[in-house]
Amino acid sequence: MTTAVEDPSSAVHLWRSTPWSWMRPEEAEPTSIRMTLHPVDASVEATLGAGSPDLFPVVIDGPETTLPDVDDIARHTLADLDGAPMRLDLKGDHDAVVNVDLRAAGHVAVGRLHIACNGRAVVHLHLSGDAGWCGLHLTGQVANGCSLSVVVTDELHLESRVLRCDDWRIGRDATFETGTLSVGGFRRKSDLRHHLDATGGSVRIGLAVHGQGTRHDDHHVEIHHHKGHTTSELVANVACAGRSRSVGTGRLVIDVGADGTDAGQVFRNLLLSQGARADAIPELEVLADDVSAAHGAASASIDSGQLHYLMSRGLDHDEASSMIVEGFLADAFRPLAASEARRTLRDRLTVHLDCARIT
């Protein structure tokens, strides 16, 4: 590290359930995550190339750099490790999914990617590899009137640790939606932040987490409504088996004057074993007067009525349970309007669960 940054204490909200000491990369020469853009239709423009550090919120400009907020230690670390950020520029309307492979190898793999959308596109970021520690920082800008769907799936090695940060800015009358299927790695911390910067903007987030063994998955999702007449929706469905643990915190901030905001978030946890644990903590900070803001959280085991119904149709106990779990996780992607995004996530989910059953 080029700058001295103190570790946040466990009293810091963001790091309460997953201490920074669990996520800090080991001392090793970092390698860049290899990013590969699949061929796209010739009628559209998608270019992947070198980005610049100022596309990311934390810029390291010397040993005197200080963190504006202790919460930013993850972003700072990613900036410190990654000397070669990338950017993906999307122009025009993309009917097909734009696929980008992110391959993480080595002891410590790090990558930063900025996506600039000036049109309509669905992007699938597929993270894979056997890196012991993987750090990924995604940022993006959805231009006024544009629409971007970002699907993130990962098949990282089961023993990987994963640190992910997102920072998205959404323009006037623009739509950003993102779906994440979180199944890879044994310990994961994600800090995903979304900023609705202008009126008419919309954010829709679907998050499905599958915990197995002793997997630890901590998702912190922030949505900031800086302007009025903006909408947001977050659905996080978590299924935990074995002795896995999941933490989901949703921070919804509606700024002063952001009247006409319509926001909702729901966290649902499905506990599949006695040893599994899932915590859901939705938080609201509403500083405007005329808004609609709803939040909820629920935890339960598999519904006996659903189980009986499916078994009455010939499925044995395991088949019925699997179907319920798959459906529950797939339902997290309900907020996403882009059918290609939903289909991509659904297909990956099916493959993941099939593999999980076999192993």
Partner: protein, 247 residues
């Protein structure tokens, strides 16, 4: 076991330690349609649930044999694979599970092998036509956001695809408009002539479209009267007062 497809003898059953069925006898032979009518709380739905093996109910006495086998020894899915089907009064919704996927897996489980895609599509299309259902149904999540009528149609669609030997239809007619009722009745009537059917209903209107061989009246956990279709007509006209035990 008396030669019936379904033989229920002296059945007592409880839910949360409350006795609901109090010595019920019923025999249904292959190809017969039976109807059970009765006041709310008489135990009609409990009977169907106990036969299907719902875990909330406990059998405390009596027996249930199906096709000569002791049904109480079978798991729920084994009952389904043996040809027993129940149409639920309030079917569960399964968010995230598409109807098409669910039907294909269910048919594969009951038949013991996955149906060939093209044949299954044809079969499905034919069954959906009988019930006047749109193909868009297949992409929706099972019973999620369905109207009452849509749920009942989906239940009967499953019955047509699974072609059970014995169908238990629990208030399949409730909440249906006239067109939906006709479609559902057509579905029931198109079941194999060898199939046994137990209709649980409050009203005679379904029995005018699906004519039963035997009508039973259930009161307080027992069958107290059995007869032909005319019994249903009398109940429609006179109610249950004349059958109630004298205090």
């Amino acid at each position: 076991m008396g030669g019936g497809l379904l033989d229920v003898k002296g059945l007592h059953a409880t839910v949360e330690e409350t006795e609901i069925l109090r010595g019920l006898d019923l025999q249904i032979k292959a190809g017969e349609v039976h109807a059970i009518m009765g006041l709310n709380g008489a135990g009609k739905s409990t009977l169907a649930s106990v036969i299907m093996g719902h875990p909330a109910y406990a059998i405390t006495a009596g027996s249930i044999h199906y096709d000569g086998e002791d049904l109480t020894e079978m798991e729920v899915h084994e009952r389904a694979r043996a040809g027993l089907f129940m149409s639920f009064q309030y079917p569960s919704s399964i968010p995230g599970v598409q109807v098409g996927t669910f039907l294909r897996k269910s048919v594969a489980a009951v038949r013991g092998e996955a149906p060939k895609a093209r044949e299954f599509r044809k079969e499905l299309q034919a069954a959906m036509e009988v019930l006047g259902m749109d193909r868009s149904f297949l992409g929706r999540y099972v019973n999620d956001g369905f109207s009452g009528g849509e749920k009942k149609r989906l239940e009967i669609l499953q019955m047509l695809l699974l072609q059970p030997k014995m169908a238990l239809l629990d208030e399949t007619d409730s909440g249906l408009d006239i067109d939906a009722l006709k479609a559902v009745a057509e579905g029931i009537n198109s079941l194999s002539e060898e199939s046994g059917v137990l209709l649980i209903t409050h009203y005679n209107r379904l029995l005018e479209l699906v004519v039963p061989d035997v009508v039973h009246v259930m009161i307080d956990g027992r069958i107290v009267q059995s007869g032909g279709p005319e019994l249903a007509q009398r109940l429609e006209a006179d109610g249950y007062e004349w059958l109630m035990p004298v205090a």
